[in-house]
Amino acid sequence: MPYIFLLPNLLFFGLFVFVPIAINFVYSITGGPALFPSDRPYVGAGQYTYLFECGSYVDPSTCREDHFWRGVYNTLFFTFFQVATMVGLSLLTAIVLNMKIRGRGFFRAVYFFPVLLSPVVVALIWKWILQRDGLLNAAITGLGSDRILFLAEPGWAMFWAIFVSVWAHMGFYTLILLAGLQAIPSDIYEAAEMDATPRWRVFWRLTLPLLWPNLIVVVVLSLIRAVQTFDEVFVLTGGGPGTSTLMVVQYIYETAFSNQVQNFGLAAAASLVLGIVLFALTLAQLAFTQRKSS
């Protein structure tokens, strides 16, 4: 009986999730420019072999599909710094917003507002600020300094990609951590006060361990999101300058739909590889969440 109630959603889910995954797999083992799977010749693991063919995995330029590996390394770099910055800043913000400060409600809203914006809107706002004749450069030149090409220099472009992404999503993770902080009973802090516990020790020995389950969730969720990053960076930098901010998802999109020769098979193989990485991260998140609830 319960399965009858589950069936409508399962059918819907199957049609729009499992079937596309299966079709994606079929594309990844077939080749040629044809769109319909029945018109595509079977190539076996050829797309994967092509994707993973490298002189040295440390140097993307030695790989046959160097853009894919450039995207992998950029995504790894982006993910590491974005997640580290995001978790650190979210934790700090949540701690401050949990204190009895004046205007607490206002600040809580301010930090959450960017989450409500569409990623494309976020990227366009920041592009307007950061471009050659943007707001920031207007301020800099107004102060008598030279323009900085924030989106045209590889180092700056990656920095701003990370910054904008952190700005846009930090509110969500701050909210999770704030909820975790508020769930810690206040009498535990009062007991610590009666126990003459120094403030730093209260943070390290009480707050942090009690917030640990929420922190794990934040780390895993932000990891999953960072690995999937596409729209914000694509609109902000277009993956450039050169390939300096090209992410894996942008590579997949361009390989399949944007390049002159559309290579659905290669894009499907790359997205399946990315899918496996995301699946592993999701399993890790589920495992941590279950451990928390038990």
């Binding site: 009062e190 009666m194 126990d195």
Partner: protein
């Protein structure tokens, strides 16, 4: 151990005054219980002593030294919370050792103190367990152990038994009394349960609306309540309070019945309001002909060892009578009551006790 003095303690939250100038002296080694109904300010007063709340006025002295502006962490007091407030991610051992680590004690010293307290509280077998793996009573003992290991100047208990079931509450109450006998520290205990107050306290402080109503030993407070509030609050079932008027013959008229009870002459004019108080165990059931009052029984409660009779008479509040053993009565039965003269309490129109002895 230490003594404590509260001098004109006041506490307000904005315009709302919670504590209105409390004066109290607690002797070294005394077990004092703050008792009162919800919202009377007893927990606030305890938190003020702990340093978890700042006073709006007045002074707190421990061993003659003012600690009014000293933070909680520097007052050298230990508190057992209603919710236990154990650190959930730490073992029982770590919970008890945490404060000692803050004090900078050596590992051997910490181990010695924790194990001694654990032995005293029968927690030795549970030292490696986390709080969630303990029963309510065991958690409460850990909370007490956490206080004991610090050897504080004063122990503060904030309704520590209220989360336990009835049976465990009685057992833990006895353990607390034994513990006070054993370690002998100054203890301040907050409760709304007057049985806990009566059984544990050297002295009871009865509070109402942020003011002390009476301070005294449990039997003083029980036998000689200073006003209607204390008389009604202390004792279970509560004292029967019968409002009436004085007659020109120096007697009391309750409802439409003139009782053959002489009232103490304190200069009240005839017709003055007066309240007669009599505890349920101070009433005998007698023949109607010899009775001071006649009531009709509304309810009979058989508790095995004792029987409670609840009855009413025209223009009177319900009267409770306690009878030893298993007394046999019927609902709607009329019974005569004799009030034992030497146990009667009288309260004037302002609710203050009229003392005759």
């Amino acid at each position: 151990m230490a003594d404590l003095k509260l001098i004109d303690i006041k506490k307000s939250y904005g315009a709302a005054a919670i504590i209105h100038g409390v004066d109290l002296a607690i002797e070294d080694g005394e077990f004092v219980v703050f008792v009162g109904p919800s919202g009377c300010g007893k927990s606030t007063l305890l938190r003020i002593i702990a340093g978890l709340e700042q006073v709006s006025g007045g002074e707190i002295q421990i061993d003659g030294q003012s600690v009014t502006n000293v933070p909680a962490s520097d007052r050298g007091l230990a508190m057992v919370f209603q919710s236990y407030a154990l650190y959930p991610h730490m073992s029982v051992y770590k919970n008890m050792a945490f404060a000692l680590e803050n004090m900078g004690l050596g590992r051997n010293d910490i181990d010695q103190r924790v194990r001694r307290a654990a032995q005293m509280l029968r927690l030795t077998d549970y030292l490696d367990r986390k709080p969630k793996a303990l029963s309510g009573g065991q958690r409460q003992r850990v909370a007490i152990g956490r206080a004991i290991v610090r050897d504080p100047k004063i122990f503060l208990f904030d309704e520590p038994l209220s989360n336990l079931d009835a049976e465990l509450r009685v057992a833990t109450r006895k353990e607390l009394a034994a513990l006070h006998g054993e370690i002998g520290g100054t203890m301040i205990y907050v409760t709304h349960d007057q049985v806990e107050a009566m059984t544990l306290a050297d002295r009871i402080v009865v509070l109402r609306s942020g003011r002390i109503e009476q301070v005294g030993t449990p039997l003083e407070v029980y036998n000689r309540p200073v006003n209607l509030f204390v008389a009604g609050f202390i004792g279970s079932p509560r004292m029967n309070l019968l409002p009436g008027r004085t007659t020109s013959a120096g007697r009391i008229e309750i409802g439409d019945q003139a009782l053959p009870i002489e009232i103490p002459s304190m200069g009240q004019a005839a017709g003055s309001e007066i309240t007669l108080g009599v505890r349920p165990e101070c009433i005998d059931v007698v023949d109607e002909a010899q009775a001071d009052l006649v009531i009709t029984l509304d309810l009979i409660e058989q508790l095995g060892g004792e029987t409670y009779l609840y009855g009413s008479a025209p223009a009177l509040p319900q009267i409770t009578v306690r009878q030893d053993g298993q007394a046999r009565y019927e609902r709607n039965q009329r019974i005569g009551l004799h009030l034992k003269r030497e146990t009667l309490h009288f309260f004037d129109a302002d609710g203050n006790a009229i003392r005759i002895r």
